[in-house]
């Protein structure tokens, strides 16, 4: 397999390449990115500088021999405006697909997506379901939905599989968080007594996966179990944790790792309806309270998703991984490990404007 990976220099892309490099089936990996920040050195890997928002030109000898493309590049900022995320997630996909059309030996095209293309749907979401009119919580979700639609409409002659990823929490073995997102910020604000309320109920399922499972599952599904026309949910599925249980687990972790935290007597965030949450967010924006605004803004593009409870079916994925060494670590086991990592690292990988941890 001669493979091109887009988004190769991102946190997830790098993990993916590290996972795929030792595979015997893979002869060569072309890592495509805007800037060479690869932290893995191998004779198999070659960096190609390219911006997917522009037409992609690569040398003919590479293009003509390419057999596989794994499209992992994405704009994942929930707060980014729709036009901005569309430019990367939809137009960028179109550019990669154009390249795919010009690869005569291509036998597979894998596209990473998100389970949250389900947007504001509630209930059970199956892997073979796509279209809906429920709307979206943020522009990122909408752009990834549009990207999938673009694939359905324009990739008829390319063997495509879609891998919808859940939210990646961290490494199940070490708790390491390579890239922090809204979920990590939410935990941080709870720790710092800046999370007064979260939309949802105690029973709302929160679907999170470990980074090691995500790369292992995608590696397996793409390299060994590729099925054109299929969509897979790489998610926690029935292992998702209820929101109330998750907040309790975070709290227990704070207490275990920082016994002094108990003295703060911080209440659990109130679980509220979306209307109340939005009223609070609006009020904070109106009063111009910087630190509180910062905490609210960090999660307001993600938190409303919790007001649309849903579970993701992953039977296709489970079936494709059955018999392999890829096992999904239990969320209840690794969640505390990740929280502990965040506490010990003092959320260092997050922005530095936040007040330093006093304990």
């Amino acid at each position: 397999m001669i493979l091109l990976v887009t988004g190769a220099t991102g946190a997830f892309g790098q993990r993916l390449i590290r996972k795929l490099t030792p595979c015997d089936d893979i002869e060569k990996i072309y890592a495509l990115g805007r800037q060479n920040r690869l932290d893995i050195i191998s004779r198999k890997i070659e960096f190609i500088e390219a911006d997917i928002t522009e037409e992609i030109t690569i040398p003919d000898e590479i293009r003509c021999n390419m057999t596989a493309i794994l499209h992992a590049a994405a704009e994942t900022r929930f707060s980014a405006p729709l036009e901005e995320v569309r430019r990367v997630n939809v137009d960028g996909l179109a550019n990669i697909l154009n390249l795919a059309f010009r690869c005569p030996r291509l036998d597979r095209f894998g596209c990473l997506s998100t389970i949250y293309i389900a947007g504001k749907r509630t209930g059970r979401v199956n892997e073979n379901e796509f279209d809906h009119a429920a709307g979206f919580v943020n522009a990122y979700e909408q752009s990834k939905f549009e990207a999938e639609r673009f694939l359905h409409e324009h990739a008829a002659h390319v063997p495509v599989a879609i891998y919808r990823l859940s939210t990646i929490l961290g490494d199940s073995r070490t708790g390491e968080v390579a890239k922090t997102g809204a979920i990590h910020e939410a935990i941080r604000f709870f720790y710092h007594s800046l999370a007064p309320m979260i939309p949802g109920t105690a029973e709302t399922p929160v679907d999170l996966i470990s980074s090691d499972y995500a790369v292992a599952a995608i590696g397996r599904l793409f390299c060994n179990k590729f099925e054109s026309g299929k969509t897979f949910h790489v998610c926690a599925g029935m292992d998702a944790m209820p929101l109330g249980e998750m907040l309790n687990a975070a709290r227990e972790c704070f207490l275990r790792n920082r016994p002094e935290w108990r003295k703060r007597a911080i209440e659990m965030p109130a679980l509220v309806g979306l209307e109340t949450y939005e009223l609070f967010v609006r009020s904070v924006e109106e009063i111009g309270n910087t630190a509180l605004q910062q905490s609210v803004r960090a999660i307001k593009y993600f938190a409303p998703q919790l007001a649309y409870p849903k579970t993701f079916d992953d039977r296709e994925c489970a079936s494709a991984l059955a018999g392999s060494r890829v096992k999904r670590p239990a969320l209840r086991d690794f969640f505390p490990r990740v929280v502990e990592y965040l506490i010990n690292e003092k959320w260092r990988r997050l922005d530095t404007n936040f007040p330093p941890e006093p304990i």
């Binding site: 710092h192 007594s193 800046l194 999370a195 007064p196 309320m197 003295k263 703060r264 007597a265 911080i266 209440e267 659990m268 965030p269 109130a270 509220v272 309806g273 209307e275 109340t276 009223l279 609070f280 009020s283 109106e286 009063i287 111009g288 309270n289 910087t290 630190a291 509180l292 905490s295």
Partner: protein, 311 residues
Amino acid sequence: MNIGLEAIEYVLPESRRNLEELEVAGALETSAHRLREFGFEYAFTSKEDAFDLASKATAALLKNHDIEPEKIDALFFAGAIASSHSVNQSLEFLSAFNYPACRLQYDFGLLNAIVAGISQTGCMGMMTAVKCAADFLRGSDAENALCVSADVFPSRAKREVIYNVISDGGCALWVRKNATRNFLRAHRQKTKGYYWDCVARRNEIVAAYFPTACAIVRETLADARIDMDQVARVIPHNVSRRSWEILLNLLGINRERLFDENISAIGHIIAADNFINLKDAAERGKISRGDKLLLFNFGFGANWGCMVLEH
């Protein structure tokens, strides 16, 4: 033993200023427009000191309800700011011990009343005083206690504290062992010392306000053995209407049950809001005999307080 709030009197200063006047005077941190959206309209500002307002409220209480001064067994004086706890203070060091509670005891001939001051629960002061009075009556042969509160902001101080418009005022309550109304069914106070530094922890205080408020209201209702549906009226402290809207949503209490007329008309009278509102709600026919009333308050420190009364 039916301990209750038998009578309430309050006084407001003569000077009332609207938001635009306060804004022009540089007394606001937030725009008048925004504060109006939050439910405020006026603030009362006093040229008299806190003791004068406390004295007027006490005089009105004793006179209007025919209370014999010598039958008062205790006087609890509450003030949220330090200046409320001294009278005629001068450069003379000893004048720092000029306590208003003692002067009230003397001025009104409360010869049998012991006195105590409550100064470190912020805007919760009067509620803490009522709790102290109730506990005092419950644990002794005493029959009657007075709770008095007054605060006057320094003339150059802003009239806004964390997005709430502040008024000066004084209030006096008669807490009685065999009361005929406003029976105290439950009271809770939560103090969270983590938030003691109001300046450094300002953001955390705003964030902690709602979940802690929810917790204490639920616990107090459980103590009173009633549920949210049985609360006939919520008697608030006069913080922003917006924050009440959020809190009521969190608690699942219909907004119409909030007695909120005084938020715009008076503003936040530091420690006395709940009891001023209780008196006005009764006089305006907004509550009936037997109604279960929920009083909630918050004060720096940080302190959260909740009380269930049966009118």
